[in-house]
Protein backbone atom coordinates (compact mmCIF):
# COMPACT_ATOMS: atom_id res chain seq x y z
CA UNK A 1 0.00 0.00 0.00
CA UNK A 2 1.63 3.24 -1.14
CA UNK A 3 1.09 6.77 0.04
CA UNK A 4 -1.23 9.25 -1.60
CA UNK A 5 0.11 12.22 -3.55
CA UNK A 6 -2.96 14.14 -2.52
CA UNK A 7 -3.96 14.80 1.07
CA UNK A 8 -7.70 14.24 1.38
CA UNK A 9 -7.52 15.33 5.01
CA UNK A 10 -5.80 18.68 4.40
CA UNK A 11 -8.83 20.77 5.24
CA UNK A 12 -9.69 18.69 8.31
CA UNK A 13 -6.12 19.04 9.57
CA UNK A 14 -6.19 22.80 9.06
CA UNK A 15 -9.42 22.97 11.03
CA UNK A 16 -7.98 20.80 13.81
CA UNK A 17 -4.90 22.99 14.08
CA UNK A 18 -6.92 26.19 14.01
CA UNK A 19 -9.25 24.93 16.75
CA UNK A 20 -6.27 23.88 18.89
CA UNK A 21 -4.51 27.18 18.29
CA UNK A 22 -7.55 29.22 19.21
CA UNK A 23 -8.22 27.12 22.33
CA UNK A 24 -4.63 27.20 23.52
CA UNK A 25 -4.18 30.86 22.59
CA UNK A 26 -7.30 31.94 24.44
CA UNK A 27 -6.37 29.90 27.51
CA UNK A 28 -2.80 31.17 27.55
CA UNK A 29 -3.80 34.80 27.09
CA UNK A 30 -6.44 34.40 29.77
CA UNK A 31 -3.90 32.96 32.21
CA UNK A 32 -1.27 35.63 31.43
CA UNK A 33 -3.73 38.50 31.69
CA UNK A 34 -5.32 37.16 34.86
CA UNK A 35 -1.93 36.70 36.49
CA UNK A 36 -0.75 40.18 35.49
CA UNK A 37 -3.97 41.75 36.74
CA UNK A 38 -3.84 39.83 40.02
CA UNK A 39 -0.20 40.72 40.49
CA UNK A 40 -0.76 44.38 39.70
CA UNK A 41 -3.79 44.83 41.91
CA UNK A 42 -2.32 42.61 44.59
CA UNK A 43 0.80 44.73 44.87
CA UNK A 44 -1.01 47.99 44.39
CA UNK A 45 -3.70 47.07 46.91
CA UNK A 46 -1.37 45.84 49.58
CA UNK A 47 -0.02 49.38 50.23
CA UNK A 48 -3.37 51.11 50.60
CA UNK A 49 -5.43 48.79 52.77
CA UNK A 50 -7.55 50.78 55.19
CA UNK A 51 -6.62 50.34 58.86
CA UNK A 52 -9.16 49.24 61.40
CA UNK A 53 -7.85 51.52 64.13
CA UNK A 54 -6.58 48.67 66.29
Amino acid sequence: MGCADMDPYERWRQVLWMVSTVAIGVLTIAIVLTTVVVMFFGFAGSGSQPTTGY
Binding site: G2, W12, S20, T21, T28, V32
Partner: protein, 505 residues
Protein backbone atom coordinates in the same frame (compact mmCIF):
# COMPACT_ATOMS: atom_id res chain seq x y z
CA UNK B 1 30.68 44.96 66.54
CA UNK B 2 30.12 47.59 63.93
CA UNK B 3 31.07 45.05 61.29
CA UNK B 4 28.40 42.61 62.55
CA UNK B 5 25.80 45.36 62.63
CA UNK B 6 26.66 46.30 59.08
CA UNK B 7 26.55 42.66 58.03
CA UNK B 8 23.14 42.27 59.69
CA UNK B 9 21.78 45.34 57.91
CA UNK B 10 23.28 44.15 54.63
CA UNK B 11 21.70 40.69 54.88
CA UNK B 12 18.38 42.21 55.97
CA UNK B 13 18.51 44.39 52.86
CA UNK B 14 19.44 41.48 50.63
CA UNK B 15 16.71 39.27 52.07
CA UNK B 16 14.12 42.06 51.67
CA UNK B 17 15.16 42.69 48.09
CA UNK B 18 15.12 38.97 47.42
CA UNK B 19 11.68 38.64 48.93
CA UNK B 20 10.38 41.56 46.92
CA UNK B 21 11.82 40.27 43.67
CA UNK B 22 11.03 36.59 44.16
CA UNK B 23 7.30 36.69 43.42
CA UNK B 24 7.51 38.77 40.22
CA UNK B 25 10.50 36.75 39.09
CA UNK B 26 8.82 33.40 39.65
CA UNK B 27 5.53 34.54 38.12
CA UNK B 28 7.22 36.28 35.21
CA UNK B 29 9.47 33.37 34.36
CA UNK B 30 6.59 30.91 34.64
CA UNK B 31 4.47 33.01 32.28
CA UNK B 32 7.27 33.40 29.78
CA UNK B 33 7.98 29.68 29.90
CA UNK B 34 4.29 28.85 29.53
CA UNK B 35 4.04 31.06 26.43
CA UNK B 36 7.28 29.59 25.08
CA UNK B 37 5.99 26.04 25.52
CA UNK B 38 2.69 26.95 23.87
CA UNK B 39 4.53 28.40 20.88
CA UNK B 40 6.62 25.23 20.67
CA UNK B 41 3.47 23.14 20.86
CA UNK B 42 1.64 25.08 18.15
CA UNK B 43 4.67 25.02 15.86
CA UNK B 44 5.20 21.29 16.39
CA UNK B 45 1.54 20.39 16.02
CA UNK B 46 1.36 22.40 12.79
CA UNK B 47 4.41 20.53 11.56
CA UNK B 48 2.86 17.20 12.66
CA UNK B 49 -0.27 18.03 10.65
CA UNK B 50 1.73 18.96 7.56
CA UNK B 51 0.75 22.64 7.63
CA UNK B 52 4.36 23.92 7.62
CA UNK B 53 5.68 21.53 4.99
CA UNK B 54 4.84 18.09 3.78
CA UNK B 55 7.47 16.09 5.65
CA UNK B 56 5.96 16.06 9.12
CA UNK B 57 2.43 14.88 8.50
CA UNK B 58 1.39 11.28 8.94
CA UNK B 59 1.41 9.76 5.44
CA UNK B 60 -2.05 9.01 4.01
CA UNK B 61 -2.14 5.42 2.72
CA UNK B 62 -3.67 4.95 -0.72
CA UNK B 63 -6.70 2.61 -0.51
CA UNK B 64 -6.23 -0.64 -2.39
CA UNK B 65 -8.50 -1.68 -5.25
CA UNK B 66 -8.65 -5.37 -4.49
CA UNK B 67 -8.52 -5.65 -0.71
CA UNK B 68 -11.39 -6.31 1.67
CA UNK B 69 -11.74 -2.58 2.26
CA UNK B 70 -13.50 -0.22 -0.12
CA UNK B 71 -11.24 1.67 -2.57
CA UNK B 72 -11.94 4.95 -0.80
CA UNK B 73 -10.30 7.13 1.83
CA UNK B 74 -11.73 6.77 5.29
CA UNK B 75 -13.66 9.70 6.61
CA UNK B 76 -11.36 11.86 8.79
CA UNK B 77 -13.39 11.49 11.96
CA UNK B 78 -13.56 7.72 11.76
CA UNK B 79 -9.91 6.83 12.20
CA UNK B 80 -7.42 9.31 10.76
CA UNK B 81 -8.32 11.94 13.37
CA UNK B 82 -7.28 9.66 16.25
CA UNK B 83 -4.10 8.73 14.37
CA UNK B 84 -3.30 12.42 13.92
CA UNK B 85 -3.85 13.12 17.63
CA UNK B 86 -1.42 10.35 18.53
CA UNK B 87 1.06 11.68 15.99
CA UNK B 88 0.74 15.22 17.36
CA UNK B 89 1.31 13.88 20.88
CA UNK B 90 4.46 12.00 19.80
CA UNK B 91 5.97 14.94 17.86
CA UNK B 92 5.05 17.59 20.42
CA UNK B 93 6.28 15.54 23.39
CA UNK B 94 9.68 15.22 21.73
CA UNK B 95 9.85 18.94 20.96
CA UNK B 96 8.62 19.97 24.41
CA UNK B 97 11.15 17.69 26.08
CA UNK B 98 13.86 19.17 23.87
CA UNK B 99 12.77 22.69 24.81
CA UNK B 100 12.76 21.76 28.52
CA UNK B 101 16.25 20.29 28.18
CA UNK B 102 17.52 23.44 26.44
CA UNK B 103 16.03 25.68 29.12
CA UNK B 104 17.49 23.55 31.88
CA UNK B 105 20.89 23.79 30.21
CA UNK B 106 20.53 27.54 29.88
CA UNK B 107 19.60 27.92 33.57
CA UNK B 108 22.56 25.76 34.59
CA UNK B 109 24.91 27.68 32.37
CA UNK B 110 23.69 31.07 33.48
CA UNK B 111 23.19 30.51 37.22
CA UNK B 112 24.73 27.30 38.49
CA UNK B 113 28.29 27.22 37.24
CA UNK B 114 30.87 26.49 40.02
CA UNK B 115 32.44 29.94 39.74
CA UNK B 116 29.19 31.79 40.33
CA UNK B 117 28.17 33.59 43.52
CA UNK B 118 25.42 32.50 45.83
CA UNK B 119 23.37 35.57 44.92
CA UNK B 120 23.29 34.46 41.31
CA UNK B 121 22.48 30.92 42.35
CA UNK B 122 19.59 32.24 44.45
CA UNK B 123 18.21 34.07 41.39
CA UNK B 124 18.66 30.83 39.45
CA UNK B 125 16.62 28.97 42.05
CA UNK B 126 13.83 31.55 41.68
CA UNK B 127 13.92 31.27 37.90
CA UNK B 128 13.96 27.47 38.04
CA UNK B 129 10.97 27.57 40.39
CA UNK B 130 9.18 29.80 37.90
CA UNK B 131 10.07 27.49 35.01
CA UNK B 132 8.75 24.46 36.87
CA UNK B 133 5.55 26.35 37.64
CA UNK B 134 5.35 27.43 33.99
CA UNK B 135 5.73 23.82 32.83
CA UNK B 136 2.90 22.87 35.19
CA UNK B 137 0.67 25.65 33.86
CA UNK B 138 1.50 24.64 30.27
CA UNK B 139 0.63 21.03 31.05
CA UNK B 140 -2.71 22.13 32.50
CA UNK B 141 -3.43 24.35 29.44
CA UNK B 142 -2.52 21.54 27.03
CA UNK B 143 -4.65 19.07 28.97
CA UNK B 144 -7.62 21.43 28.85
CA UNK B 145 -7.08 22.11 25.14
CA UNK B 146 -6.73 18.38 24.40
CA UNK B 147 -9.90 17.65 26.38
CA UNK B 148 -11.64 20.43 24.42
CA UNK B 149 -10.48 19.02 21.08
CA UNK B 150 -11.55 15.49 22.05
CA UNK B 151 -14.89 16.87 23.22
CA UNK B 152 -15.38 18.70 19.93
CA UNK B 153 -14.39 15.54 18.07
CA UNK B 154 -16.90 13.53 20.10
CA UNK B 155 -19.63 16.03 19.29
CA UNK B 156 -18.71 15.98 15.59
CA UNK B 157 -18.48 12.20 15.60
CA UNK B 158 -21.89 11.86 17.23
CA UNK B 159 -23.33 14.40 14.78
CA UNK B 160 -21.76 12.58 11.84
CA UNK B 161 -23.15 9.25 13.05
CA UNK B 162 -26.58 10.78 13.59
CA UNK B 163 -26.51 12.46 10.17
CA UNK B 164 -25.37 9.20 8.62
CA UNK B 165 -28.30 7.19 9.93
CA UNK B 166 -30.69 10.08 9.30
CA UNK B 167 -29.61 10.31 5.66
CA UNK B 168 -29.80 6.55 5.20
CA UNK B 169 -33.25 6.52 6.75
CA UNK B 170 -34.34 9.50 4.66
CA UNK B 171 -33.11 7.90 1.47
CA UNK B 172 -34.73 4.56 2.24
CA UNK B 173 -37.91 6.23 3.53
CA UNK B 174 -38.33 8.40 0.44
CA UNK B 175 -37.74 5.43 -1.83
CA UNK B 176 -40.29 3.43 0.14
CA UNK B 177 -42.82 6.25 0.00
CA UNK B 178 -42.36 6.55 -3.73
CA UNK B 179 -42.71 2.79 -4.09
CA UNK B 180 -39.19 2.45 -5.45
CA UNK B 181 -37.46 -0.87 -5.07
CA UNK B 182 -34.43 -2.15 -6.86
CA UNK B 183 -34.04 -5.46 -8.60
CA UNK B 184 -31.27 -6.82 -10.75
CA UNK B 185 -32.42 -7.50 -14.33
CA UNK B 186 -29.71 -10.18 -14.64
CA UNK B 187 -29.89 -12.29 -11.47
CA UNK B 188 -33.34 -11.03 -10.35
CA UNK B 189 -32.30 -10.45 -6.74
CA UNK B 190 -33.84 -7.64 -4.78
CA UNK B 191 -31.03 -5.14 -4.29
CA UNK B 192 -31.01 -3.04 -1.11
CA UNK B 193 -28.47 -0.69 -2.64
CA UNK B 194 -26.43 -1.05 -5.82
CA UNK B 195 -22.67 -1.07 -6.12
CA UNK B 196 -21.17 1.73 -8.21
CA UNK B 197 -18.10 2.15 -10.36
CA UNK B 198 -16.12 5.33 -9.80
CA UNK B 199 -16.62 7.63 -12.81
CA UNK B 200 -12.99 8.70 -12.42
CA UNK B 201 -11.11 5.39 -12.41
CA UNK B 202 -13.72 2.64 -12.68
CA UNK B 203 -12.98 1.12 -9.26
CA UNK B 204 -15.94 -0.81 -7.87
CA UNK B 205 -17.45 0.57 -4.66
CA UNK B 206 -19.68 -2.06 -3.11
CA UNK B 207 -21.55 0.14 -0.68
CA UNK B 208 -21.39 3.89 -1.18
CA UNK B 209 -23.97 4.72 1.47
CA UNK B 210 -22.95 7.08 4.29
CA UNK B 211 -20.52 5.34 6.59
CA UNK B 212 -16.87 5.21 7.56
CA UNK B 213 -15.79 6.43 4.13
CA UNK B 214 -17.90 9.57 4.10
CA UNK B 215 -21.25 11.01 5.02
CA UNK B 216 -22.29 13.11 2.02
CA UNK B 217 -19.41 12.30 -0.30
CA UNK B 218 -16.70 9.68 -0.34
CA UNK B 219 -13.31 10.18 -1.92
CA UNK B 220 -12.28 7.37 -4.23
CA UNK B 221 -8.67 6.21 -4.25
CA UNK B 222 -8.24 8.21 -7.47
CA UNK B 223 -9.48 11.38 -5.78
CA UNK B 224 -12.93 11.48 -7.37
CA UNK B 225 -15.66 12.61 -4.99
CA UNK B 226 -18.63 10.27 -5.22
CA UNK B 227 -22.11 11.02 -3.86
CA UNK B 228 -23.20 8.56 -1.20
CA UNK B 229 -26.95 8.54 -1.71
CA UNK B 230 -29.52 8.41 -4.48
CA UNK B 231 -30.81 11.68 -3.03
CA UNK B 232 -27.43 13.24 -3.64
CA UNK B 233 -27.11 11.94 -7.19
CA UNK B 234 -25.48 8.51 -6.92
CA UNK B 235 -27.94 7.28 -9.59
CA UNK B 236 -25.96 9.27 -12.15
CA UNK B 237 -23.11 6.78 -11.79
CA UNK B 238 -23.11 3.31 -13.36
CA UNK B 239 -24.84 0.92 -10.97
CA UNK B 240 -24.00 -2.75 -10.59
CA UNK B 241 -25.75 -5.60 -8.83
CA UNK B 242 -23.91 -6.45 -5.60
CA UNK B 243 -24.94 -10.11 -6.01
CA UNK B 244 -23.87 -10.91 -9.57
CA UNK B 245 -21.81 -7.84 -10.50
CA UNK B 246 -23.78 -7.26 -13.70
CA UNK B 247 -24.65 -3.69 -14.72
CA UNK B 248 -28.08 -2.54 -13.65
CA UNK B 249 -30.37 -0.30 -15.62
CA UNK B 250 -29.54 3.38 -15.91
CA UNK B 251 -31.20 5.54 -13.28
CA UNK B 252 -32.03 2.45 -11.24
CA UNK B 253 -33.31 3.56 -7.87
CA UNK B 254 -34.99 6.81 -8.90
CA UNK B 255 -38.04 5.39 -10.59
CA UNK B 256 -40.57 2.78 -9.57
CA UNK B 257 -39.96 -0.54 -11.23
CA UNK B 258 -42.48 -2.36 -13.38
CA UNK B 259 -41.74 -6.05 -13.77
CA UNK B 260 -43.63 -7.79 -16.56
CA UNK B 261 -42.85 -11.47 -17.18
CA UNK B 262 -44.03 -13.09 -20.39
CA UNK B 263 -45.31 -16.57 -19.69
CA UNK B 264 -46.36 -19.19 -22.19
CA UNK B 265 -45.31 -22.42 -23.83
CA UNK B 266 -42.21 -22.91 -25.93
CA UNK B 267 -42.71 -21.30 -29.37
CA UNK B 268 -45.93 -19.63 -28.23
CA UNK B 269 -44.53 -16.30 -29.41
CA UNK B 270 -43.27 -14.73 -26.19
CA UNK B 271 -40.13 -13.28 -27.71
CA UNK B 272 -42.07 -11.85 -30.62
CA UNK B 273 -44.59 -10.40 -28.22
CA UNK B 274 -41.81 -8.85 -26.17
CA UNK B 275 -40.25 -7.40 -29.31
CA UNK B 276 -43.63 -6.04 -30.39
CA UNK B 277 -44.11 -4.41 -26.99
CA UNK B 278 -40.62 -2.90 -27.14
CA UNK B 279 -41.17 -1.64 -30.68
CA UNK B 280 -44.51 -0.11 -29.76
CA UNK B 281 -43.02 1.47 -26.69
CA UNK B 282 -39.85 2.96 -28.17
CA UNK B 283 -40.65 3.62 -31.81
CA UNK B 284 -44.38 4.13 -32.03
CA UNK B 285 -44.94 6.21 -28.90
CA UNK B 286 -48.28 4.85 -27.68
CA UNK B 287 -48.84 8.13 -25.83
CA UNK B 288 -47.68 11.54 -27.06
CA UNK B 289 -46.19 12.52 -23.68
CA UNK B 290 -44.53 9.16 -23.05
CA UNK B 291 -40.85 8.90 -23.94
CA UNK B 292 -39.30 5.46 -23.61
CA UNK B 293 -35.61 4.72 -23.89
CA UNK B 294 -33.67 1.48 -23.48
CA UNK B 295 -32.21 1.63 -19.98
CA UNK B 296 -29.01 -0.32 -20.57
CA UNK B 297 -26.67 -1.42 -23.31
CA UNK B 298 -27.89 -5.02 -23.02
CA UNK B 299 -31.38 -3.92 -24.07
CA UNK B 300 -30.02 -1.98 -27.04
CA UNK B 301 -27.86 -4.91 -28.15
CA UNK B 302 -30.60 -7.49 -27.63
CA UNK B 303 -33.16 -5.43 -29.57
CA UNK B 304 -30.70 -5.01 -32.44
CA UNK B 305 -30.03 -8.74 -32.39
CA UNK B 306 -33.74 -9.55 -32.54
CA UNK B 307 -34.39 -7.04 -35.34
CA UNK B 308 -31.47 -8.41 -37.32
CA UNK B 309 -32.71 -11.97 -36.89
CA UNK B 310 -36.22 -10.93 -37.87
CA UNK B 311 -35.00 -9.19 -41.02
CA UNK B 312 -32.69 -12.06 -42.01
CA UNK B 313 -34.87 -15.08 -41.22
CA UNK B 314 -38.31 -13.61 -40.84
CA UNK B 315 -38.43 -14.84 -37.26
CA UNK B 316 -36.65 -14.35 -33.99
CA UNK B 317 -34.29 -16.98 -32.65
CA UNK B 318 -35.72 -19.31 -30.08
CA UNK B 319 -34.86 -18.41 -26.50
CA UNK B 320 -32.82 -21.33 -25.26
CA UNK B 321 -33.17 -22.76 -21.75
CA UNK B 322 -29.51 -22.04 -21.09
CA UNK B 323 -29.75 -18.37 -22.12
CA UNK B 324 -29.32 -15.80 -19.41
CA UNK B 325 -32.72 -14.50 -18.44
CA UNK B 326 -31.94 -10.83 -18.46
CA UNK B 327 -34.78 -8.39 -18.77
CA UNK B 328 -35.18 -5.82 -21.49
CA UNK B 329 -35.25 -2.60 -19.47
CA UNK B 330 -36.74 0.74 -20.47
CA UNK B 331 -36.80 4.12 -18.78
CA UNK B 332 -40.24 5.67 -19.17
CA UNK B 333 -40.46 9.43 -18.85
CA UNK B 334 -43.42 11.67 -19.17
CA UNK B 335 -47.02 10.96 -18.55
CA UNK B 336 -47.72 11.12 -14.87
CA UNK B 337 -44.58 9.53 -13.57
CA UNK B 338 -41.18 8.09 -14.29
CA UNK B 339 -40.92 4.32 -14.32
CA UNK B 340 -38.34 1.65 -15.04
CA UNK B 341 -39.89 -1.19 -17.02
CA UNK B 342 -38.35 -4.69 -17.01
CA UNK B 343 -39.81 -7.19 -19.50
CA UNK B 344 -38.70 -10.77 -18.92
CA UNK B 345 -38.85 -13.45 -21.57
CA UNK B 346 -38.13 -16.77 -19.88
CA UNK B 347 -37.82 -19.84 -22.13
CA UNK B 348 -40.93 -21.98 -22.21
CA UNK B 349 -38.93 -25.06 -21.13
CA UNK B 350 -38.19 -23.41 -17.82
CA UNK B 351 -41.80 -22.53 -17.26
CA UNK B 352 -42.79 -26.15 -17.63
CA UNK B 353 -40.11 -27.27 -15.19
CA UNK B 354 -41.10 -26.59 -11.58
CA UNK B 355 -37.55 -26.88 -10.29
CA UNK B 356 -36.29 -24.26 -12.71
CA UNK B 357 -39.35 -22.05 -12.40
CA UNK B 358 -38.38 -21.44 -8.80
CA UNK B 359 -35.13 -19.83 -9.97
CA UNK B 360 -37.12 -17.03 -11.55
CA UNK B 361 -37.14 -14.61 -8.63
CA UNK B 362 -38.55 -11.86 -10.83
CA UNK B 363 -41.89 -13.67 -10.73
CA UNK B 364 -42.22 -12.58 -7.09
CA UNK B 365 -41.73 -8.93 -8.04
CA UNK B 366 -44.25 -8.87 -10.85
CA UNK B 367 -47.69 -7.35 -10.48
CA UNK B 368 -48.73 -8.01 -14.05
CA UNK B 369 -48.08 -11.10 -16.15
CA UNK B 370 -48.55 -11.47 -19.88
CA UNK B 371 -49.77 -14.96 -20.71
CA UNK B 372 -49.08 -15.68 -24.36
CA UNK B 373 -51.53 -18.23 -25.79
CA UNK B 374 -50.72 -19.93 -29.05
CA UNK B 375 -54.11 -20.68 -30.66
CA UNK B 376 -52.52 -23.39 -32.78
CA UNK B 377 -51.66 -25.26 -29.57
CA UNK B 378 -55.29 -25.35 -28.48
CA UNK B 379 -56.44 -28.93 -29.25
CA UNK B 380 -59.84 -27.89 -30.64
CA UNK B 381 -58.24 -25.44 -33.04
CA UNK B 382 -55.54 -27.85 -34.12
CA UNK B 383 -57.92 -30.73 -34.65
CA UNK B 384 -60.20 -28.55 -36.74
CA UNK B 385 -57.44 -28.27 -39.36
CA UNK B 386 -56.97 -30.75 -42.15
CA UNK B 387 -53.71 -32.67 -42.39
CA UNK B 388 -52.26 -30.42 -45.06
CA UNK B 389 -52.92 -27.26 -43.11
CA UNK B 390 -51.54 -28.88 -39.98
CA UNK B 391 -48.36 -29.68 -41.86
CA UNK B 392 -48.13 -26.08 -43.01
CA UNK B 393 -48.61 -24.66 -39.51
CA UNK B 394 -46.58 -27.25 -37.62
CA UNK B 395 -43.34 -25.12 -37.57
CA UNK B 396 -45.23 -22.26 -35.91
CA UNK B 397 -47.04 -24.33 -33.32
CA UNK B 398 -45.93 -24.65 -29.73
CA UNK B 399 -45.74 -28.19 -28.42
CA UNK B 400 -47.48 -27.70 -25.10
CA UNK B 401 -51.08 -26.87 -24.47
CA UNK B 402 -51.70 -23.35 -23.01
CA UNK B 403 -53.73 -24.99 -20.28
CA UNK B 404 -50.79 -27.12 -19.13
CA UNK B 405 -48.44 -24.15 -19.01
CA UNK B 406 -51.00 -22.01 -17.22
CA UNK B 407 -51.54 -24.53 -14.42
CA UNK B 408 -47.80 -25.11 -14.17
CA UNK B 409 -47.10 -21.39 -13.77
CA UNK B 410 -50.03 -20.85 -11.41
CA UNK B 411 -49.02 -23.71 -9.15
CA UNK B 412 -45.44 -22.52 -8.96
CA UNK B 413 -46.39 -18.90 -8.43
CA UNK B 414 -48.42 -19.96 -5.42
CA UNK B 415 -45.53 -22.16 -4.30
CA UNK B 416 -43.21 -19.14 -4.49
CA UNK B 417 -45.47 -17.20 -2.17
CA UNK B 418 -46.95 -14.98 -4.89
CA UNK B 419 -50.61 -14.19 -4.37
CA UNK B 420 -52.04 -14.18 -7.92
CA UNK B 421 -55.22 -12.58 -6.61
CA UNK B 422 -53.22 -9.40 -6.03
CA UNK B 423 -51.74 -9.45 -9.53
CA UNK B 424 -53.11 -8.90 -13.01
CA UNK B 425 -52.96 -11.09 -16.06
CA UNK B 426 -53.05 -10.01 -19.69
CA UNK B 427 -53.99 -13.01 -21.80
CA UNK B 428 -52.66 -12.48 -25.32
CA UNK B 429 -53.98 -14.88 -27.95
CA UNK B 430 -51.31 -14.40 -30.60
CA UNK B 431 -50.75 -15.32 -34.22
CA UNK B 432 -54.07 -13.85 -35.31
CA UNK B 433 -52.50 -13.24 -38.73
CA UNK B 434 -51.96 -16.99 -39.10
CA UNK B 435 -55.33 -18.03 -37.70
CA UNK B 436 -57.45 -15.48 -39.55
CA UNK B 437 -58.21 -18.00 -42.28
CA UNK B 438 -59.06 -20.85 -39.89
CA UNK B 439 -62.87 -21.19 -39.63
CA UNK B 440 -62.94 -21.95 -35.90
CA UNK B 441 -60.99 -18.78 -35.21
CA UNK B 442 -63.20 -16.58 -37.32
CA UNK B 443 -65.61 -15.96 -34.47
CA UNK B 444 -62.88 -14.70 -32.12
CA UNK B 445 -63.50 -11.00 -31.72
CA UNK B 446 -61.00 -8.34 -30.76
CA UNK B 447 -62.37 -7.04 -27.48
CA UNK B 448 -61.64 -8.71 -24.16
CA UNK B 449 -65.06 -10.31 -23.63
CA UNK B 450 -65.17 -11.68 -27.14
CA UNK B 451 -61.73 -13.29 -26.84
CA UNK B 452 -62.61 -14.75 -23.43
CA UNK B 453 -65.92 -16.14 -24.74
CA UNK B 454 -64.18 -17.61 -27.74
CA UNK B 455 -61.64 -19.38 -25.55
CA UNK B 456 -64.27 -20.54 -23.12
CA UNK B 457 -67.16 -21.45 -25.36
CA UNK B 458 -65.71 -22.14 -28.78
CA UNK B 459 -62.36 -23.87 -28.32
CA UNK B 460 -62.80 -25.77 -25.07
CA UNK B 461 -60.58 -23.67 -22.82
CA UNK B 462 -63.40 -23.08 -20.33
CA UNK B 463 -61.53 -24.71 -17.45
CA UNK B 464 -58.52 -22.51 -18.02
CA UNK B 465 -60.65 -19.37 -18.33
CA UNK B 466 -62.48 -20.22 -15.10
CA UNK B 467 -59.16 -20.82 -13.33
CA UNK B 468 -57.81 -17.53 -14.67
CA UNK B 469 -60.88 -15.63 -13.50
CA UNK B 470 -60.74 -17.31 -10.11
CA UNK B 471 -57.01 -16.90 -9.54
CA UNK B 472 -56.09 -13.42 -10.77
CA UNK B 473 -57.34 -10.10 -9.47
CA UNK B 474 -57.62 -8.37 -12.81
CA UNK B 475 -57.72 -10.09 -16.19
CA UNK B 476 -57.92 -8.72 -19.71
CA UNK B 477 -57.93 -10.72 -22.96
CA UNK B 478 -56.29 -9.52 -26.18
CA UNK B 479 -56.10 -10.95 -29.65
CA UNK B 480 -52.78 -9.93 -31.13
CA UNK B 481 -50.53 -10.44 -34.05
CA UNK B 482 -46.83 -10.07 -33.92
CA UNK B 483 -46.08 -11.64 -37.24
CA UNK B 484 -45.31 -8.35 -38.92
CA UNK B 485 -42.51 -6.10 -37.75
CA UNK B 486 -44.74 -3.18 -37.13
CA UNK B 487 -46.73 -3.71 -33.99
CA UNK B 488 -50.46 -3.42 -34.37
CA UNK B 489 -53.18 -1.76 -32.32
CA UNK B 490 -53.81 -4.84 -30.19
CA UNK B 491 -50.23 -4.81 -28.88
CA UNK B 492 -50.59 -1.10 -28.19
CA UNK B 493 -53.78 -1.77 -26.22
CA UNK B 494 -52.08 -4.51 -24.24
CA UNK B 495 -49.13 -2.23 -23.48
CA UNK B 496 -51.30 0.70 -22.41
CA UNK B 497 -53.45 -1.54 -20.21
CA UNK B 498 -50.30 -2.85 -18.50
CA UNK B 499 -48.71 0.58 -18.06
CA UNK B 500 -51.98 2.05 -16.87
CA UNK B 501 -51.93 -0.34 -13.93
CA UNK B 502 -48.70 1.34 -12.80
CA UNK B 503 -49.95 4.89 -13.21
CA UNK B 504 -47.94 5.65 -16.32
CA UNK B 505 -50.85 6.77 -18.46
Amino acid sequence: MLYFAFLLIWYAFVISAFMMLSVPLIVGSSLVFTVLLMIVFLRSSGYALGLFGTGGALPVPVPTWNGPEEPAYRQYLSGPFADDLQHIWRVCRQDLELQAKRTRGWVRAQFFRPDMTNYRRAVGVLLATGLIAGAGVAAVVLAIAAAGVVLIWSVFFALAKGTLYLLRGLDAGLSHLRGISLSCPACHHQVPYPAYDCPGCGARHHDVRPGRYGVLRRICACGFRMPTLLLLGSHRMTAFCPHCGQPMAEKAGVAREIVVPMVGATAAGKTRMMLALATTLVQEKPLPQLVAQPADTYTVDRLNELYTSLRAKGDTDKTLPGDAMRALSFNLNGGRARRLLHIYDPPGERLSDSARLHEMRFMRMAHTFVFVVDPLAIPDVWHSLDARTQQRYQPYRSAQSPEFIFYQVLQNLEGMGVKPRRTALAVAVTKSDLTASIPICASAGDDSDAVRDWLSDRVGMDNMVRAITKSFGDVRYFRTTTRTTAADGSVRNLLLWTLNRYGVC
